[in-house]
Symmetry: C2
Subunit: 427 residues, 2 copies
């Protein structure tokens, strides 16, 4: 079937899915969980085919690990589906209720966006996670997985669609796209697709953003900073820096640059160096830093680099204001933190840094939907529109305005014979 | 000064403006109101220059009327500024507060988007309205007005900047762009501009949307429908149809197509025709409509046409479902209404129509920020992302996540020696 027909079918299904009850959608999630567990053998067999082909093509070990869907990962997916069931239903939440005039009542009510297009790389578990978040929130979806995971994704699609069909949801609510051409095609279907979520490398996300006028939820870089203020507890600052750089260096919420106030630099930097040396982190310092500790020189381009590795650039600044200016200029508006015992400096920093997440005296690694307690994470957004920072189910919802009357027209309000009450009503 | 320098200055000012107190911003609005009143002579003189030039160029009367800024319009602007002062401050509203673990508290707090780029056509009063909404919400702005209004806009800029400077706000918070090249340039400055708001014709909004990757808040068409159900009160349906078509035919929330159930068509259509004839509205009917009342034939393209005029296309359908399908296919996701006495049919319609505003037994003309009681209207959005339908100050706000701790790191949570409480705290 051609892409336009698939997209058109998916949009029709979206209308139907939006009107299912929470009970139906939760029953679908339960059936999906049961089916994944019951058909784990089939899924692993399909995954073995993909793994065998990938080994033949000489795929590197980390990629093979991402591609593999073993029993432990399947068990994780099953328990993820069960916990998704217990989240509050995101559809039909009323956020505004106003009497415009007696008998004429306005409501603003949450509803699904419609059709979500998701493009993700090799990890087949992402397929199940995203599809289930869409189902929970009443969104239909078009999914494009990695080429290497094709057999696994086809099997997962069949298992999930069999499960949702068994509770009466039409199989057209989700479709698997298989070619790159279909992704290019999808990016132009703004009449059919409401949001694109790209998951993968920064390069990949940037490419997607540049090739579509459909809104994109994602983040193209994570250049996060830690600023160690003059009034910092130096021991705390070292501890936070170590966590923010080394707890998981390849993640987007790890720090790439450390800024330190000149007054505390002589006390702090040697301690930082000892701690980072012990963890094999390479420091790159600006000229002033290198007068305090020995390390390689940072160049201008280091301030704009996301290493995703055990490398940390270090710069001395003369004020919290200078740190803020550096961050707002070089950062990626993701997550930035200050360490200070001075509440006033901290609050100024929290207000002035123009990033999704701004932290005081704690690690940037807390920037995550699970750690924030959102229940589920769709992704992290460095955009400011619609959703910012870690994004839960809210990120794939919109709202509509419902107005219920008894024959009211605007004319009498325009000629002054009627007037608005605009009375807020209880939600 | 070149555009990049202007944009860079405006972005710096945005950081400052975001941190002003509500008192400062409200004082600025008061000073702006006073200055407009005190300097009305200067403003009218500048406007006279524009009007004289426009008359020489032979501008049509409606355009001259839009361009003119007379005492009555200035008085309206002054009272608009005073009522904006009394709106609640949109900055710093806390929508989430969660204890992640004892002593580690997360807040989600509203803040301005940053820099708004606004492109509007000839009406100089729009300049003041938009600039003041930006100021109230702590957003800096780049404004491009119509070429015909250049002298007026320059004068308004000077008056407003003098006023805001007198309360300590740097003059760089707002800049007036004067050339088309600058608009093209602005559309590519995604690092400096957070949102584009185009005001003007549909054609114009579509052009802007197609030429930028910066998010655009706006609506490119208003193809609104009224569906008269089998269970409608026919007299009410005529009354609503007349209001929705004729109360202001050139507005985006007026109806362009009326759908009527076949069972009520014989009773309803003759009454509709009588009422519309009396108001010189031209009806265009499908074949079935023309077997009931005499009128010209509608063609397929009529279902996709926004007349913005006293023309109404009419189609007979056999069910509410068919009406919903027609609306979701041909509508512009703006505002659509049903007339019916059947609550169950109404609720299905409200849930199934995929538009920003869906109304029951009232006129589509109520779709408006003032009538909705939003206090101020930035515009109407037919997109589903960020803001939908009539958009108040909320539409130019975003939020950030603040996390305040006492040295917490992620490592102990990852190795199981600490655990999250995720306790909701009072807002």
């Amino acid at each position: 079937m051609d892409l336009l027909s698939i997209a058109s079918q998916t949009r029709s299904a979206a209308g139907m899915l939006a009107r299912t009850t929470p009970e139906t959608r939760n029953a679908a999630l339960a059936t999906m969980a049961d089916a994944l567990a019951a058909r784990a053998d089939e899924i692993r067999a399909a995954n073995e085919q993909d793994l065998a082909a990938a080994r033949q093509e000489g795929l590197a070990a980390p990629l093979l690990h991402r591609l593999s869907l073993d029993d432990k990962k399947i068990t994780g997916l099953v328990s993820g589906l069960r916990s998704l069931q217990s989240l509050p239903d995101p559809i039909g939440q009323i956020s505004v209720r106003t009497e415009l005039s007696p008998g004429l009542v306005l409501e603003r009510i949450s509803c699904p966006l419609g059709v979500i297009g998701i493009v993700f790389e090799s990890r087949p578990d992402a397929f199940v996670q995203i599809a289930s978040l869409c189902l929970k929130s009443g969104n239909a979806c078009l999914l494009k997985g990695g080429r290497e995971a094709l057999q696994t994704n086809r099997k997962l699609r069949d298992v999930l669609l069999d499960a949702t069909a068994s509770v009466g949801i039409p199989r057209t609510w989700m479709a698997l796209l298989e070619s790159r051409d279909e992704v290019q095609g999808m990016l132009s279907l703004d009449r059919y697709i409401d949001l694109i979520i790209p998951r993968g490398s920064n390069e990949f996300v940037r490419q997607i953003q540049a090739s579509t006028h459909i809104p994109v939820l994602g983040h193209s870089a994570g250049i996060c900073h830690l600023y160690v203020d003059a009034d910092a507890d130096a021991e705390m600052a070292v501890r936070i820096a170590v966590d923010a750089k080394t707890q998981a260096p390849a993640t987007c919420n790890s720090i790439e640059t450390l800024l330190v106030h000149s007054e505390i630099a002589p006390a702090f930097l040697p301690a930082l160096k000892t701690a980072m040396d012990a963890r094999s982190v390479r420091l790159l310092g600006d000229d002033r830093t290198r007068t305090v500790i020995p390390c390689d020189a940072a160049t201008e381009s280091d301030w704009d680099t996301e290493y995703l590795d055990t490398i940390l650039s270090v710069k001395i600044v003369d004020s919290a204001d200078e740190a803020v200016r550096h961050i707002n200029r070089h950062g990626s508006r993701h997550t930035d933190a200050i360490v200070t015992e001075n509440k006033s400096t901290a609050e100024t920093f929290l207000a002035a840094v123009d990033s999704a997440d701004v932290f005081w005296n704690c690690s940037t690694r807390f920037a995550d939907g699970y750690r924030f307690g959102l229940g589920a994470e769709i992704g992290i957004s460095t955009g400011k529109i619609h959703a910012r920072g870690p994004v839960g189910l809210e990120g794939i919802m919109t709202y509509k305005w419902l107005l219920r009357g008894h024959g009211e027209t605007v004319a009498p309000f325009a000629d002054g014979s009627a007037s608005f009450t605009h009375r807020p009503l209880p939600l």
